[in-house]
Each structure stands twice: as structure tokens, then as C-alpha cells.
Amino acid sequence: MDLLEHQGKALFAAAGLPVLPADVAVTPEDAARLAAVVGLPAAVKAQARTGGRGKAGGIRICRSAGEVEAAAAEILAMTIRGKPVVSVLVEQAVEVHREMYLAIVSSRALRGPLLVFAREGGVDIEELAKRDPGAIVRSPIDPLLGLCDYQVRDVVAAAALDPEGPGAADARKALGAVVRALWRFYHDRDATLVEVNPLVLTQDGEVVCLDSKVTVDDNALFRQPDVTPDEPADEREAKARRAGLAFVPLAGDIGVIGNGAGLVMSTIDQIATMGGRAADFCDIGGGARSEVARAALEAMFAGPPVAAVLVNIFGGITRCEDVAKGLVEAIKAAGVDAPVVVRLDGNAAEEGHAVLADAALPNVTLALDPDEAVKLVVDIARERV
């Protein structure tokens, strides 16, 4: 899960990473009050799960409480790259001497973390690497050894802090401490991404994390008790998640339920190939039983109406009979009247077909193979539009 800037910074502060005095507001009045607490001038920063906030006008430097209130009012009303601004961070402003870039990211190719540093912040790293290779550090961190001292020295060397400047030795020491603390943070917080862009050297010679971008591994939330995922905005997704199902809302009008991530993705692709559009990705998983099939159908119908539903099950361990029972129950209980195309194959498929035949639900059609099922549901959806 992606943390908002202020959530990441709160964890940064607890981990000893240098951040500026700041607090979060959800109304312009609160923002104005906070300005007095954190000090002026202050930066008012949009909190939204996306990049490009500065370019979109979501970050303003304000010199008075009045300016803070006006800026907060504007920013709170914004949507940046399709993401609504949920709150503003009011943060003490500093005089920036230099901007740098520091990140640790989980690399699939390396099967482990990668440390990335750039002497200049807010620039295209690839472009900088071409122009000035010495200004970049890309260094794989061994998951068992952890960050090594030489890697910290490499970053400090690449930063090329002016050796003649006042407090340069302190600044180098501070930068090294930030790199070490960031690695501890990445490790202890089960992050898959920690990015500080920019990491700044202030006019006063302090090193400060001016931004935070943190992604915490969803699989590790069981040991990160103070990181709680937000309730999904989509009602269907929220409902499915409570039932322990993998659900991704999509924009089409054909509801899709299947077992196994690959099979459901493939089903959605086939629907698109035939000219239809799926309304969701819903995976009821490997050993799915009847109550799971029922929960999936209920989650789907918590959203905008669908023109038709496709249930595509290949029973490996899953018994198609159990899935069929759950579907019949859910269709009856929820009074589903949208057409439902069902394809059952594999384990106990014949028993599943018998369950559906016995129920004799008028809106349920049985398809004998996956290709036929997709064609059928796309045709039905088209007729109903």
C-alpha cells in the first residue's frame, strides 16, 4: 500500500529521519491555525496518492495565515491526475541550498533492494546518468548483509558537497546518517519503495527529507500493526476485501467471477477480444466453496448495475458442485435478475451442472466451454444495452 506524504513522514520522524515541523489539516481553517504552530513561511502541500503535485499547483509557499487558508481552500478542492486531494500538509518552509534524490526500491530483477542516489533532485535520472555518470549511485543491497559502509561512502562522494563550504564535514556526516537511517526504515517497515525527492541541503547546512514516498508491502501488514490500509473507495472492492476476495473494479458492464488470478485475467481479455468490456476482476481462489461464490456475487451487485455476468470456473481442487450451490443461493437470496452465464469444467463439473439444472433459474445459462461462454455473455450484454 502507498502511504500519503504525511503518513510516510510521521514514520520517518519516528525512525530518526530528519523532517520539518508539520501537521495535517482537512479544512482551510485548520490549515490556517496550523501555520502558527509550524511557523511561517509555510508550505501547503496537497496529500494525494500520485506524483506531479507541484506541477499541478498542489504545493504553495505562504507567508501569512491568510495565505495558508486561501491556498488550503483551493488545494483541498483539487483532483490531481485523477486522485482527489484528501488533506493538506502544512509544513515549515526552508531555504533550500541544494536538492538531491535518494531512494531504496525492491527490484524484481535483483530479487532484493536497490539503493539509488542522484546529486540533483527532481530531474530525470536516466538523463542525468548520461550527462554526468559520477552524479548517480545505483547499488544493490545484499538482503542478508544489509547496507555496507562503502555504499554510504559512495553516496556521500557522489553528492560532492562543497568541501570549502561552512559545515561541510557536518553535512557529509548528516547525509551518511540519512542513508543509514533510510535503509533501517526500509528494512524495519517492510517497505518495497522509499523515495525522498528532494532530499535537501538547507542554507543552514541541514540535510532534510522534504518529501516522502513510501510503499509498504501488503504481504507484511501483519507485522506492521500501525500501518492500516484505507477502506477502498469502490463499494464492491470494499465488500469483496472484507470477504477475503481479490477484486479489482473495472469500467465495463460485464461482471466477471472466476477461480485463479490467471484464469480471471484471461477471461477478461477474451471478453475484450470479443468486443465486450468487463466490469471487474474477481478471483474466488483455489479451494473456493459455496459461501465464497456467494460473497463474490454479492460484492459485484453492490456496484453499478451490470448488463450480464460471466462465472468461469475450472475446478482443480475447487468442486464445481460447491460453486454451483453458492451461485444458486446467492442468485435467489439477492434476487439477481441480470443474465448469468456459467461455465463449469473440471472437478465435479457434472454434479455442478445438475445443481444448476435442478434450480432451473430462468436467468442462468450454462455454457460448455470457455470460448462459448465468453461469446454468449458478450452477445447478451450487447442486446441489453
Binding site: 485463479g260 490467471g262 481479455d269 483455489g286 482443480g316 469444467d345 472437478n347
Partner: protein, 294 residues
């Protein structure tokens, strides 16, 4: 012949006393697999489905030799169980467990080579050499012995394709489900290498999905190294960017890891890419037939 497992394989089940562990131990035994021992700390001396249970992998291996471990250990304890298996000298570890933290898997992947152990998974259905050995949870009923190799990132799509193959009279040498996580053990390239060297295998079906670049790297490997026919399928063409599609590793990040880029890489390497799972089974059947007649 086959790859990775055969009828000489001696399987040990870690987490054998749990619900999933016990259930699938029964299924592995029923499919003719030589399940020789189970391990659950604190449960030594018990039996599950007639299989003796030990407190540690070391003890099990010392008492009853085993070379393959299948893990049903819950995610919070999986890292330690993987270290234990590798340190006890298990050569092939199959991790069924879903939801293991990325940090844990990075540590495991850094350690296993030091012990010479190989990993399949995690978050995978395991592997099967039909009629000889099943190390995992694949439904052995739909498989038949034969000449088709299968390697896949998706469990149910594997079953779908194998079902079609079996119905069409094309048996399988070995099918490997490599799992749906971003950090995983054996991948396409290792399996392709083994299938190329396996006398029984006459062609390979590769089933990919969005996320990472395993398919792109496999395409280059096939072009440069494989003499046996390979056919492919990639799921997730209509997946929205930035969303995990069920599997932790199935995600389009920015513009990388898309199904279109994978399909293009495979096609550029001369590999036929099917438009549906059923077409993949057809393509493999045709490729094997062509190879036999030439």
C-alpha cells in the same frame, strides 16, 4: 524421464499437521507420490495419513532420507521453514504458501544458493510429473503422462491448458507452476533449459502474465538456445496499470510489464503466441506433431 521430480523422488511435507498440509498430503499419496515424512515443530511422533511426523527437517532427513520438501507453512513462519529445509540439505523446495513478505523472500533467495537448494514458488501450485510424482497441489486427475512440458505463472490456467491437452491425447512430461509472486524461485529459463535437456519432452507450453520481465527474458533464451518447439500464452492484456491482479507479482508498473510487450517479445523471437488458453493447447499439439514428422 521428466524434469525435477520422478518416481525416485522422496517428498517431505513441512506444515503437514495443518488443514491444507494434511489434505494435500492425502492427495499426493493418492496420486502415487512417495511422501516419506512430515514436519511440524512440536508434533514429532504423530502420523498424518500414515506418514510419520518429525519435529525438525534435520531430524526427518536423518531418519528417513528426503530430497524434495513441499511447504504449507503459514506466511509469517515460511521464511524460517525455507531456511530450515535448505540447511538440512533438501535439494528442491516447493513453497505453496501465499502472502510471504517480499523482504523475507529476498533473504531466502540470497541464502538458498549457498546451500545449493532450488526453490519453486512461493504462491504456487507446485509441480507434477504425471503418474509418478506430485509435489504440490495440482489436481493429478486431469494430467496424463506424455511429451508436453508446461511451465506457468498461473495455477488455474495451467489446469485449463493441461485439461485440453489431455483431452486431445497429449500427455505431459512435467508441469511446473512457478508462482505469482514478484520475487520467486525457478523461472521460465531454468525450466526451459531442463525441458530442452529432457529426452521425454518434445515441446513446451509457456504460460505468462503481466508484471516483471520473465517472459521477455525467456523469449531471448528460447531464440538462442531451444531446439524444441515452444508455444506461449500471456494473460492480462486488459489489466489496468498500477493494480495487482490477484497475484502479488501481476502488476503493470508504469509502462513496464504489459502483456503487449511480452507478446511482442515472444513473437519477435519466433514463438507462436495463442489468443486463448484453448488455442495454446492446440498450438502445442500441432508443434509436437510437426516435430515428430520432420
Amino acid at each position: 524421464m521428466s524434469i525435477l521430480i520422478d518416481n525416485a523422488t522422496r517428498v517431505l511435507v513441512q506444515g503437514i499437521t495443518g488443514r491444507e498440509g494434511a489434505f494435500h498430503t492425502g492427495r499426493m499419496l493418492a496420486s502415487g507420490t512417495n511422501v516419506v515424512a512430515g514436519v511440524t515443530p512440536g508434533h514429532g511422533g504423530k502420523e498424518v495419513e500414515g506418514v510419520p511426523v518429525f519435529d525438525s527437517v534435520h531430524e526427518a532427513v536423518a531418519t528417513i532420507a528426503a530430497d524434495v520438501a513441499v511447504l504449507f507453512v503459514p506466511a509469517p513462519r515460511a521464511r524460517d521453514a525455507l531456511f530450515e529445509a535448505a540447511d538440512a540439505g533438501i535439494r528442491l523446495i516447493v513453497c505453496i504458501t501465499e502472502g510471504i513478505p517480499v523482504r523475507d523472500m529476498a533473504e531466502v533467495m540470497a541464502h538458498l544458493p549457498r546451500r545449493g537448494a532450488r526453490l519453486i514458488g512461493p504462491n504456487c501450485p507446485g509441480l507434477i510429473t504425471p503418474a509418478r510424482c506430485s509435489a504440490g497441489i495440482m489436481p493429478s486427475e486431469i494430467f496424463a503422462p506424455g511429451a508436453a512440458g508446461v511451465v506457468s505463472r498461473s495455477g488455474t490456467l495451467t489446469y485449463e491448458v493441461v485439461h485440453e491437452l489431455t483431452q486431445a491425447g497429449i500427455g505431459q512430461s512435467t508441469a511446473v507452476g512457478m508462482g505469482g509472486d514478484a520475487v520467486h524461485g525457478i523461472g521460465f529459463i531454468e525450466c526451459l533449459q531442463l525441458f530442452e535437456a529432457d529426452r521425454e519432452t518434445e515441446g513446451v507450453a509457456l504460460i505468462g502474465e503481466i508484471g516483471g520481465d520473465d517472459e521477455e527474458r525467456a523469449a531471448v533464451y528460447i531464440r538462442d538456445n531451444m531446439t524444441k518447439p515452444v508455444v506461449a500464452y500471456v494473460a492480462g492484456h486488459s489489466a489496468p496499470p498500477g493494480r495487482r491482479m490477484g497475484h502479488a507479482g501481476a502488476i503493470v508498473e508504469g509502462s513496464s510489464g504489459t502483456a503487449a510487450s511480452k507478446q511482442a517479445a515472444l513473437e519477435a523471437a519466433g514463438i507462436p503466441v495463442a489468443a486463448s488458453p484453448s488455442e495454446l493447447a492446440r498450438l502445442l499439439g500441432e508443434a509436437v506433431k510437426r516435430r515428430r514428422t520432420t
